[in-house]
């Protein structure tokens, strides 16, 4: 029996190890097929002129009038083009797009665009002025419910039309003089209108195609699916496999096709930042959408050539709920501001090359140097807090910092919590909420202190300062100041120089009253293959793909 047992076990073991061996051989075989020539995907793609981009997320749609996010913008920038195109390096400079030339009246309130003869949709039709009128009517139609329709409120009567106060689109300040001439009347003098035109909310859609697949105001219009998509950009949509790949190819009908050097761009919607990093290191991506902040110090050492840190027009700050005690007291708000050592925070905590904020509007704007009013001054902070009735932090009401769930936000909040404890003697708690709950809490003013960020829609201080006017949906602090409101309102209707002056006055008020704690100005950190050429930092992360190439 003994021997029998052993031989049986040996049989089974043999059978088992055979199965296992076959499994491993199978695996190995598959693996060898996989390696093929041994070339990495990025190497082959670079030779073929294919750019592989990590896109961060699956786009919610590719319809420029329905989307709101950055991942969508990255793809739509390849597929569509507005009147004005992106400049290869400078976010503020206009580049001719569908419009070959433009003129404006003396006070920048009426603009006339000459559309180029050679601008074509991918179905061969010419891009006309009428297409733009249709497109802007579409995004402003109340029934479509476009979240970015607000961007077009700069156009005369656009707001009234979008709010349903007028039904006749002829009253809105956009007119096709003829097929190639578009006239736009604005609510006031707007010299930075050309910069705004680079935003996808101003992009055209093909009216015939939109009508064919569901009509102007149908949210579930099928025109923007991969089968039906008609664009006018340097690239054309070829394949869209959800959560996997969006493949675009050079558009031969594009008016500036000679300049387009890449043959294809593939976008990979990899949401997990670590998976994206693995994909990059395994040679499957040329560009990542971002990098994990805690990996930056290691990248600085191990792959400094690939790590890119670009300026980005955004402001990271805390909101203070001024409807609650003790934040209704400006002295407390100033004390909280003065007790934050922002330089230490960006050096030790965020480590992504961010600039410590000295004002609210970030640096990087040519015509608007940042204000320098928010400084680290713990003595003055303690003094102010004592004046407010909390000497040494004694008696300071229990309060908490609200963050949306994220390690990076928690680290910043913990650092500031420690600074306040050390410099002011106050103890604030930190609690996190899931993203959508956090958004609700913030807009219902159901918080004491709340972490926030704001990214500019176009390169102008207005996009940062207008949010703190009374009743603005993005104010979310309960702060209201009539002088501030009137300065912003006046600025909206002033000539460029006056406007900047007024905005500086307004921001000065904001920084005296401090319903916010500005913390740092953003950078964009990502990994980029060294072979990619013509990939320049742009302040708004715009993507002028037509200038990108492999050396």
């Amino acid at each position: 029996m003994d021997s029998g047992n052993r031989s049986n076990a040996a049989d089974i073991r043999a059978a088992f190890s055979k199965t296992l061996r076959m499994f491993w051989i199978g695996l190995l075989g598959i693996a060898m097929v996989a390696c093929g020539g041994g070339d990495r995907r990025v190497d082959v793609a670079a030779k073929e002129g294919i750019l592989l981009i990590g896109n961060g997320a699956e786009p919610m749609s590719l319809d420029p009038h329905l989307v709101t996010g950055v991942p969508e913008n990255r793809i739509i920038s390849a597929l569509m083009e507005g009147l004005i195109a992106y400049h290869p390096t400078d976010a503020g400079e206009p580049e001719p797009g569908v419009a070959e030339s433009w003129e404006h009246n003396e006070d920048f309130s009426t603009w006339r665009f000459k559309l180029r003869d050679t601008a074509r949709w991918t179905n061969g039709e010419p891009v006309t002025a009428g297409d733009f009128v249709y497109s802007w009517e579409r995004i402003l139609s109340p029934a479509l419910g476009s979240q970015y329709a607000e961007m077009l409120y700069v156009i005369e009567n656009a707001q009234a039309f979008n709010e349903g106060k007028i039904d006749d689109f002829d009253q809105v300040g956009v007119k096709a003089i003829d097929d190639r001439t578009l006239e736009v009347k604005l609510t006031g003098s707007t010299p930075h209108f050309l910069s705004m035109l680079k935003h996808y909310s101003f992009f055209p859609v093909n009216p015939r195609v939109v009508e064919q697949f569901g009509g102007m105001t149908e949210r579930q219009n099928r025109w923007s699916t991969v089968e039906n998509y008609v664009g006018n950009g340097p690239f054309t949509l070829k394949e869209w496999v959800t959560n996997q790949i969006i493949r675009t190819e050079k558009n031969p009908q594009y008016w500036d096709a000679d300049r387009v050097k890449l043959n294809q761009i593939h976008f990979f919607p990899i949401e997990n930042v670590n998976s994206e990093e693995t994909a990059f290191r395994a040679g499957r991506l040329h560009v990542t959408s971002t990098v994990s902040p805690d990996r930056i110090p290691s990248f600085r050492k191990t792959m400094p050539e690939q790590l890119r840190i670009d300026p980005y027009l955004g402001s990271y700050f805390f909101r203070l709920n001024v409807t609650r005690k003790p934040f209704d007291d400006p002295r407390v708000r100033e004390a909280l501001n003065l007790a934050v050592d922002r330089q230490l925070l960006v050096d030790r905590v965020t480590q992504g090359g961010q600039a410590p904020a000295t004002g609210f509007t970030p640096n990087g704007l040519d015509d608007y140097p940042p204000l320098d009013r928010v400084r680290f001054n713990p003595e003055r902070a303690r003094q102010l807090l004592a004046e407010a009735g909390y000497p040494g932090g004694r008696g300071f009401p229990k309060s908490e910092i609200l963050i949306n769930t994220s390690e990076a936000h928690r680290k910043v909040a913990e650092a500031i919590q420690a600074m306040w404890r050390q410099n002011l003697g106050i103890d604030v708690g930190i609690y996190n909420q899931e993203w959508k709950v956090y958004l609700d809490s913030q807009s219902n003013l159901d918080y004491d202190i709340s972490r926030a960020g704001w990214i500019g829609d176009y390169p102008h201080a207005m996009t940062f300062l207008e949010i703190f006017t009374t009743g603005n949906g993005n104010n979310d602090t309960g702060w209201s100041n009539s002088t501030y409101d009137s300065l912003i309102q006046e600025a909206q209707a002033s000539d460029p120089e006056k406007r900047l002056q007024l905005l500086r006055q307004a921001e000065t008020i904001l920084l005296e009253e401090l319903p916010v704690v500005p913390i740092y100005w953003y950078t964009r950190t990502y990994l980029l293959d060294e072979r990619v050429e013509g990939w320049h930092p742009t302040l708004l992360d715009n993507r002028p793909y037509k200038y990108v190439s492999f050396g």
């Binding site: 029996m1 047992n5 049986n8 076990a9 089974i12 059978a15 088992f16 199965t19 296992l20 499994f23 695996l27 598959i30 693996a31 060898m32 097929v33 996989a34 390696c35 699956e58 919610m60 749609s61 319809d63 329905l66 989307v67 709101t68 109340p142 029934a143 479509l144 419910g145 476009s146 979240q147 329709a149 607000e150 979008n162 709010e163 949210r219 579930q220 219009n221 959560n243 996997q244 990979f268 949401e271 997990n272 670590n274 998976s275 693995t278 994909a279 290191r281 395994a282 499957r284 899931e434 993203w435 959508k436 709950v437 958004l439 609700d440 807009s443 960020g453 603005n472 949906g473 993005n474």
Partner: protein, 305 residues
């Protein structure tokens, strides 16, 4: 037997209805809207969008519309992904999850069952202790540790296997191994337990006494009974592998259902959450039904009642 199946089927339908109602209530009660974002949405615009998706209707009317549509297999549009319907999303990603699930199941069975049998036959030897300890580690090691570990070794260090995407058989290896090894560990332990129980039965002693070859005892007399625990677990395992592949899908960038489930919840994409919950629930109910039937068929001590 038909009566048994019919009864269990009816039970299943009731369970699904209850799950649907419960999910609907929970989704309606959850704070946050599918349409909110960092940038505030104007109230007029929000009203338009809500009306479009029927959020302006009273609760019970919404529930009734949603349920009667669902019965017809129509779960409505995604509230977040413009111009995609829930049915489209499911039909696109479900096949991927099934493929990944089946391959992972193969891995789990091919590794788990033989290991379990071997460990039972050679119990209390190295061939028992080593695989069973490894299996214990396998059960304890979460997929979000094992996945990146495998990706690091086979993808980055050895460079022989792709680490992200879903373009062919090679792309299945690492995710299927990650997902399959976890269940292989379960199957190994269950098979070992089942086999041990059988090997200790009186009839086995009798057979041995009569001089029946040990291989015949293991393969012919014990295997069928010894596999019952593993087969009972097969139903939940299939459902679990297909529904629970979220982590693996995220790590290896696989366009399956799991990612949608989590994203649907994070986005408050109500219709998508409902559709996927019902799908997963139906899958689990169905798999349990199949497991029950097979279980009774294999085990002469049980009857369909």
């Amino acid at each position: 037997m038909l009566k048994f199946i019919a009864l269990r089927f009816l039970q299943g339908i009731l369970v699904l209805l209850a799950i649907y109602a419960l999910t609907f209530v929970l989704v309606a009660m959850t704070p946050g809207s599918p349409f909110s974002g960092e940038r505030a949405i104007r109230p007029e615009v929000l009203a338009q969008i809500e009306a479009y998706y029927g959020y302006d209707k009273p609760f019970f009317e919404r529930f009734w519309t949603s349920l009667s549509n669902a019965v017809q297999g129509e779960f409505g549009p995604s509230a977040v992904y413009a111009n995609r319907s829930v049915t489209e999303i499911i039909s696109e990603s479900f096949p991927v999850s099934i493929q990944l699930g089946l391959v992972s199941l193969m891995v789990a069975l091919l590794i788990g069952i033989p290991t379990g049998i071997l460990a039972a036959v050679k119990r209390n030897s190295t061939l028992d202790y080593v695989p069973m300890s490894v299996a214990m580690i396998g059960i304890c090691l979460p997929t979000f540790v094992l996945g990146p570990l495998l990706a690091l070794v086979f993808g980055l260090m050895l460079g022989i296997l792709p680490v992200s995407g879903w373009y062919g058989p090679t792309y299945m290896v690492l995710p299927a191994a990650t997902l399959g090894l976890y269940y292989a560990a379960y199957f190994a332990r269950l098979t070992r337990g089942g086999m041990l129980e059988m090997l200790n039965q009186d009839f086995v002693r009798t057979a041995r006494a009569k001089g029946v070859a040990e291989s015949t005892i293991v393969w012919k007399h014990c295997l069928k009974g010894g596999l019952i625990p593993a087969i009972t677990f097969l139903g939940p395992a299939v459902a679990g592998i297909i529904a629970g592949s979220f982590v693996v899908e995220t790590i290896f960038q696989i366009p399956g259902l799991g990612q949608w489930f989590v994203r649907g919840a994070l986005n408050r994409d109500d219709f998508l959450i409902l559709g996927l919950t019902v799908l997963f629930a139906a899958l689990i109910v169905l798999m349990n039904l199949v497991a029950d039937i097979v279980h009774v068929a294999l085990n002469p001590r049980l009857k369909y009642e």
